[in-house]
Symmetry: none
Subunit: 219 residues, 4 copies
DNA sequence: AATGAATGAGCGTTCATTCAT
DNA sequence: AATGAATGAACGCTCATTCAT
């Protein structure tokens, strides 16, 4: 039916506009922060007029909310270990699993305009309680939960030491969050090596062996 | 001389006023973010009038700059391993050294109104290049440099594995930065345990041993 | 001719659309006032798109102008004493004439969506000189003129005291205008009784006898 | 005490500013209507900057609310028959009482910038339910109540016919409201005579005698 | 003839900064 | 040194109007 097709095309166009606006918003938010970003600059960046933003979003704040939503969706597609794949993933040795995970997360950051989105959202989250809750609930908690379960399974299989899985999952995410902070702060070493095997292997090595507890044998 | 004394007293009072204003500013910045914080609220919080702020600072932005300065100064007093103490510090076993360092850094966060200052500065740093540079140069780089050197010395003494010291120093600071992020985000586990021995020891353990490389023996 | 018929049908449809839009506009203007009413809400209320309004009217303001026009036309059909009926109307006793007039005017307000139209126009008229002139010229003056003439004829016939006819005609219309104001303001007494015989008779009685000049006999 | 005096002077200045702004606002509201009036024009008219308005009022709407308040206060000072004066007022013959009342009300309109205030408020009231309620409660009801009581007392004394006092009080106020409408609409007769004895006496005469019920004697 | 996405001027409001007191 | 009233630029947002479809 032509009516149906026309509707579909309209919806596709609307979705494209929304994404166009969100991409522009994420960039400006990342550069200036949410509060200092102006709807005018977002509109200019997206090559539309200010009024058009409000045909697609109710308020400036909704842009940030929807950016979180897009990140969450994107992450869930990319990072969650699907229930029906558990066995296959557990078959991968810990070293390779860690490497793959770090690799995937570092690649995720640079894909699809994710960096400005993460930067924009992270900065706002530090000074906006409502956002903090949403960010924690939608982005951190689900991914951390999956990792903690996975870790627990590895422990049960005797592949890693019997550490406190939820705590170590937080360590891992905190570590990644901090490393992303270093990237955004412009640390030359982290920026240059962000996707390099050198960095990923150093991380894997560090997570598996730590500094090497020489005292352990001595104590 | 009484003239000199009067001058000194005046300067002491001025410094007290500055600190009073900076404390108020740090709180408001932490709660709302720099851009959303208003000079009116800062003035109210500091129990002075808006005009008075401008007798002590040229612009709102200077408040944040001076907060970074105060943090840097405070950190340099508290955290830098003084050159004339190197030998004594190296005498401490790695495990105790790490424990002391984590303990000191976590205590630092909660002391002297440092948390709001760190929160305010960290949020702004993510979206303000000028600030990012200042923060990196004044707060991160010096402390990281000292730690990297220290680590190198430990490696030379055979106390820790021959890791890439500058990189691992970054790992350590990234980890701490990310953990602070979790604290500010309101992660219940991290917040509850922030200064507990349990958390500090888990961290030390993790840094010394990692997950335990079971595959190492297998490879 | 089928061409002519098609044209007529088109015109009838166009007139229906115009009325559909004007009815919707009058409602929204009455509820929110002209300036606060949006073309979007008018379009929604009329079940058409915003663009369609502009196929029938040049601008939002024209909606109000045409509402005045419709009211004037409607009033002239209903209220003006036709020249060829003068004799018949004068044959009606004053009391019955007043009663009929009040009855007709009060019914007029509640008929055919007139109330929102009157409300919308009256509110705008108070703050818009151009409109005030149009309203006065098209709605008040003609009706007042007819009433004044009629009154004069009654005076000539000795049926009413020799009052200043144009002034008393104004009194009568001012009174009705004010009463409509009370209705719109939500005065419970006036609203409840708007079309009741009680109110109409009290009005007639008041217009014929006033408060009763007790002093007249004393003076 | 000089502190107290300074405070008093400050308050006097603030009150003057508020009045200066309200006067300007009333004028602009009367000319354009509340919604079309801009804060910029009010500020220009009051010879201050737009920002200053917001040092004295929370929002544009509060200007109108406070105008109603000023009118109510002003009216209560001018028009309410004080309880301890009832006897004196009742001693005045009905004709003189009506004349004085009409005189006072017509003078009130032209005094102290009341006309633009009444015009502004009346126009808004017709299209704003919240305002209608406030206007009715604060401006109409109290004055109408006093008049109805007074009328009842006159009836009890046999000075006026036994009319329905609350209803006739409404008639009187509706009449005045409508007459004010005619004034604002620019009716040349009403405008020219607004304060003239001719008009006032015609009104008094009309209220006392109506059109003269010739039929009464006939019936 | 009807649509509704796009426009951009203009609105009410905020707030860092100034300055007379 | 301290005040707080005044400022006005700049913001987020609305909405009458246009026009390609």
């Amino acid at each position: 039916m032509s009516h149906k097709k026309a509707e579909e095309r309209r919806e596709r166009r609307a979705a494209a506009r929304r994404n166009q606006i969100l991409d522009a918003a994420a960039e400006v938010f990342a550069e200036k922060g949410f509060a200092r970003a102006t709807t005018k600059e977002i509109a200019d960046r997206a090559d539309i007029s200010e009024g058009t933003i409000y045909n697609y979003f109710q308020a400036k704040e909704d842009l940030l909310i929807d950016i979180v939503g897009r990140l969450a969706e994107s992450q869930s597609l990319a990072l969650v270990i699907k229930p029906d794949m558990i066995e296959q993933v557990l078959a991968v040795p810990p070293r390779d699993f860690l490497n793959a995970m770090f690799h995937m997360r570092h690649a995720f950051v640079l894909e699809n305009n994710h960096l400005p989105m993460l930067q924009a959202v992270t900065a706002e989250v530090l000074v906006n309680q409502e956002f903090a809750a949403r960010y924690y609930r939608e982005l951190l908690e689900p991914a951390m939960g999956v990792l903690a379960q996975h870790l627990q399974a590895r422990i049960a299989r005797g592949e890693v030491r019997p550490v406190d899985a939820p705590l170590v999952a937080r360590f891992l995410f905190a570590f990644e969050l901090g490393l992303l902070g270093f990237y955004v702060l412009g640390d030359p070493l982290i920026q240059a090596e962000w996707q390099s095997d050198t960095l990923l292997e150093a991380m894997v090595d560090f997570f598996l062996n730590g500094l090497g507890d020489v005292s352990a044998g001595q104590g």
